[in-house]
Symmetry: C2
Subunit: 193 residues, 2 copies
Amino acid sequence: MSRSPSTSYHHGDLRGALVDAAVALVEEHSPARLSLREVARAAGVSHAAPYHHFSDRGDLLKAAGDRCMGDFLAAQESAVAAHDDPDARLVALGEAYVGYAAAHPHAFALVFDPELCPPGDPSPERAVLITRNEELLAACVVDLLVARGRDVGHAPALANALWGTVHGLAALVGDGHLPLDAVGPALEARLTL
Amino acid sequence: MSRSPSTSYHHGDLRGALVDAAVALVEEHSPARLSLREVARAAGVSHAAPYHHFSDRGDLLKAAGDRCMGDFLAAQESAVAAHDDPDARLVALGEAYVGYAAAHPHAFALVFDPELCPPGDPSPERAVLITRNEELLAACVVDLLVARGRDVGHAPALANALWGTVHGLAALVGDGHLPLDAVGPALEARLTL
DNA sequence: TCCTGATCTTTACAGTGTCAAGAAAGGCTC
DNA sequence: GAGCCTTTCTTGACACTGTAAAGATCAGGA
């Protein structure tokens, strides 16, 4: 009982290895096509082994989605941290958001898939990431409004509008409906308050 | 040879009935969970019958997506047609867009799913609908810019930005990440140019 | 040493997409 | 009308999937 059960015994850390494999496979094709058996094969383990670490296929995909959400948030945070000017910070956040969706379209889809992680009942780990992301955006918006001497009262509505704009462009680019190079001009025409 | 092969013989119009059934089932659950056999059962026909009208499962879902796209476009067109003021027309278009996603989230997802209808290679029927939708938005944006005496040169970039905003809010609402009543304030804070 | 419990494998079952072969029924020629 | 052909649909089969139950394997404690 001295070690965590997920980091010992036969495999070492099968749970982590399965999430690794799932995330790697999601880079190649849509999560809808990802089969549990395919993940088990990639991890070099029998097709039923995942059931000792996840309750079902959805549970594994949910864990993979949590991992992707972590990467997604980290990309936004480091982009924002690289700038001081409030305007530049918000633009950098938008670019990181769309950039992640363009570079990892299936992972982006996985993160927001309501079938896998019902927004009303996220995992505790996921809830933390969601809160951090919301606070990151809210802080950027408030900073910008303050820097411009504008009323901060509409910050929540404005944050939602900006989230919508950036999320929409990300989804359209990730799904191939809009070329990536159309995003810059669009944001330029709109994101500068 | 005097009638179309799809509107005669045994069933009458099995192809249409299958699309009807698929669209109806998509109202109830995600297209990812829609099985061909389930559609065949709903149409009262054997599990292999659809293969005489569609090349595979994706082909049927694509046809269902075309139907949904038609409804989606019709909702936007009638919303726009109900107003004269350029500002009101654009707002009505956005509301119809988000309203469709909120009322038919799975159909909305089906319409934009790149796995089912690759944006680079849409069906001829779909291509017509896409063009009409793009022209509808472009016309609304240009009308508004003209009415305000603004430069029309940035209309395409602005149209993409507005598309992104509305599509993002629609996707977030449709996926349950944002409540529908958050959309009004967000659009108000942003869509009025 | 043997036991206990966690981990993994084997086996099995229902459901799926898809294909091939056969039955049924409309429309043709005679 | 009879006979045939083509299109439509059904039946049966295969490989694959998710999932559950039962057995094997192995680490650590008595």
